[in-house]
Symmetry: C2
């Protein structure tokens, strides 16, 4: 058994050796994804898509609980629509794909494949919003989008990706701001309680904000290589799109007014995040709430009388309790199956052999700690449910500890540079708010501004860590994906 | 109240006057859909999309219960891939949209937006299928597809539409045939038990089959104007794509073999179907299982003490029972709300006023029969659940009766033509199986071959209804969408 495990694991590059190759090895060998014939586009295989379905289910429930409804808008956007908001077109036009021919003919106006849907949705809002009675509009779309990317990596950056995009319209600036903050809060709660990923939430710099927004809020997570991953963003669009698209409503005071808008999105990128926050050298480590299989039953000495019967009985009992359980009855050794379970990141495996049956017990092995626990068969579903909760809590805790241990505070640029050299992932420092400092820091160190955290008012110094001019706000810097 | 109803209803063209305008009026006024700036593409608004979400939920469960898993493949297909199956490219190439530029540059090879995904999926199957151990692959995809259409109508025929496409690979011809039949069976069960739409299932003619398939099975429903709507198809692809794409597996006997494939699909078109099977001059009539709102509570004399409180209490009770209930607390008259309820096809409305509260009762009004029933408040959730089941059963029954009353048997061409003139929707007749007769019948009468029914072995005559040569099979003919 030990030998097989070794052989198997050798196929995955270790994180220490090459984190990037480790990532590719894991997603390919765990059968999550495959490369397609279309440059920059991935195939999400059944196991990877199963995770996405669970993410969708959890998020969608949260959107509906906060009053949002889903709708669907066209994939193709006429060039003239894309151009109606100046900053937006500048930001997105360089990376879109253009449809020029359809039905055997050249089109009069070329159409781009949506890189995001503000423009097509706003063109409809201009029709739908007439009176204050029509507001607010709280809407979400689950869709594919396409942004032509030069360098791509499955889940993290692909030309086509799957996402959700919320688009709301409000009568007042305050309401729009509340929505922007609220939805980022939904994202954060989801990241922590579902993906077991601790995130820092805060505001993006002007440079890093969404093209066309007044300001952008973000949640940033630290990967195991210390880099930041932007896991979701929420934009206060102000009246920019309303003015660009002529969206106006007649208010109670009989005056025509421009409404205030927001948009917010998360994508299949989150799957890349959970791989890089939790995984280890044996493979994936899935947070129980998005694990397509939460518990894998592995019969030991399956050929012996009663083992398969008992395994199937346990399967039925556990399944009935609403736990996503599977039974590995393939014609392979138990050791091979243990490795496969670990590679695919299944939170719990359950081993059952003749001796266990004799003693009315089973062995549970946690993926997060490798702890082996012998428990009575009686009440097994409840035992598993509790353990899954424990595993979630422990994974969140471990991720938080890792992040905190790799976060560093710098009060001057020498400290800043040293912190990065020492392998600290996040560097917190005071910043003047100038684009010049932001660009210079990036050029000198490779790190970018991630966000000005909401719940961190610490004043590390009065002056900008780079230029020494009066500091505006605490900024989190990091190398990023 | 009566007056308001009249005023309201006047906005919908009656079915008798102009069925096509009735359809457009209903989908627009019930707020299901809107036209976009992109020719031939629709916006599916929240109410319409809510129906699609329920359809997806019901279908997806059935796919998973029959062993299928979801995955996701790229939107864009290189031209060279599209061309690998000869019949397939001939069928689809004329109606695809081409991406020629991306990221600011002209592409070396143009990419089409998927009209269906056989080609991109088969290019992956060529990698994934190596051994008999890899089979069967049972896979489904929920996605948007695009077919450039000259004449479009929301839900029924749009350039972009949402659908699911199953794609399976099997070791034997028999297994593939069984899968093709099984999935059409799943569709039929779904159509009847969820959409309350009776369907005829059977085989398409060679002319009407899917481009690249050995043969195509279909389910056909009759709309209230007598026309047929193809509601879903299941294709036995034989080894055509396997040969085109070089998909081969090493069998147990150590021989390299081509596997056998199927594909099957249903789309947002089904929403068009349920509108045209069930609707009436007051608007939509939604089958309870896909109604986003199954029961609408309308307070009568809402301003009177206790009415709103009781309404909210009922709302909580009914919601807790898992029924999709809503409370119309808008500032409008009860009559206006009744009309709105009918327009949007809500299966049941619940009226509650001061007198009802006094007597511990509520009034329920069925959308399908307009029947008014006074029932005790006690046990209201169970009463509603039972009534929703009854409504479903009655809607299916009414649709079946309508279809049967508009189906006609013809043993010679004179009868055939008369049947159509008399407004019969489906004409059953014997057919020789020749393309020439199929084309001639279409040219003379405007009807097309819908399917050779599975469960109808009646022999109406020995000879073809058109040419008089020996007949092969009973065929259902109809005008179609």
């Amino acid at each position: 058994m030990a030998k097989m495990k070794k052989e198997f694991v050798e196929h995955i590059t270790s994180q220490a050796e090459d984190f990037s190759r480790w990532y590719t090895d894991v997603i390919m060998k765990a059968d999550m994804v495959d490369y397609s014939d279309v440059k920059g586009c991935m195939v999400i295989k059944q196991y990877g898509y199963g995770i996405w379905e669970l993410i969708q289910e959890e998020m969608d429930r949260r959107f509906k609980e906060t009053g949002h409804k889903n709708a669907y808008f066209p994939l193709l956007i006429p060039e003239s629509l894309l151009q109606k908001e100046a900053e937006h077109v500048e930001g997105f036009a360089p990376e879109v794909a253009w449809v020029t021919h359809g039905g055997g003919e050249k089109l009069q106006e070329r159409l781009c494949i949506r890189p995001t849907s503000e423009t097509i949705i706003c063109s409809m809002y201009a029709k739908w919003v007439q009176s204050y009675r029509d507001l607010p509009i709280l809407l979400n779309q689950w869709a594919n989008v396409l942004r032509w990317e030069k360098t791509t990596r499955p889940f993290l950056r692909t030309s086509e990706f799957l996402w959700q995009e919320g688009h709301t319209v409000h009568a007042t600036q305050q309401e729009a701001e509340e929505e922007t903050v609220k939805m980022l809060g939904v994202y954060k709660e989801f990241a922590e309680n579902v993906l077991a990923i601790p995130v820092i939430t805060g505001q993006k710099s002007e440079k890093e904000k969404f093209a066309g927004a007044d300001h952008t809020y973000t949640m940033e997570a630290m990967m195991l290589d210390g880099r930041a991953l932007q896991m979701g963003t929420s934009h206060n669009l102000g009246q920019n799109f309303a003015k660009g698209f002529g969206i106006q409503y007649l208010d109670k005071d009989s005056k025509l007014k421009y409404p205030w808008q927001t948009s917010w999105g998360t994508s299949t990128r989150m799957i890349g995040g959970l791989i890089m926050v939790h995984g280890d050298d044996r493979g994936l480590k899935l947070p129980p709430k998005v694990a397509p299989i939460q518990c894998m039953i592995i019969p030991i000495a399956a050929f012996k009388e009663g083992v398969m019967e008992k395994s199937r009985e346990l399967y039925d009992t556990i399944k009935k309790a609403g736990i996503r359980v599977d039974l590995d009855d393939r014609d392979q050794s138990a050791g091979w199956k243990f490795n496969d379970c670990e590679l695919r990141g299944i939170p719990l495996r359950l081993e059952i052999g003749p001796k266990d049956i004799e003693q009315g017990q089973v062995v549970l092995v946690r993926r997060d700690t490798f702890e082996k626990i012998t428990v009575p068969m009686e009440g097994i579903a409840e035992t598993i449910a509790n353990l899954l909760d424990e595993i979630h809590a422990n994974m969140l805790k471990m991720a938080r500890e890792f992040r905190d241990a790799h976060t560093f505070k710098a009060t001057n640029f020498e400290e800043f540079e040293k912190g990065i050299e020492k392998g600290h992932g996040f560097v917190k420092a005071m910043w003047c708010g100038c684009r010049e400092c932001e660009d210079a820091i990036k050029e000198k160190t490779g790190v970018t501004t991630r966000c000005m955290p909401f719940d961190d008012d610490e004043v590390l110094s009065d002056v900008c860590v780079f230029c020494g001019k009066p500091a505006k706000k605490l900024m989190v810097f990091a190398k990023s994906y």
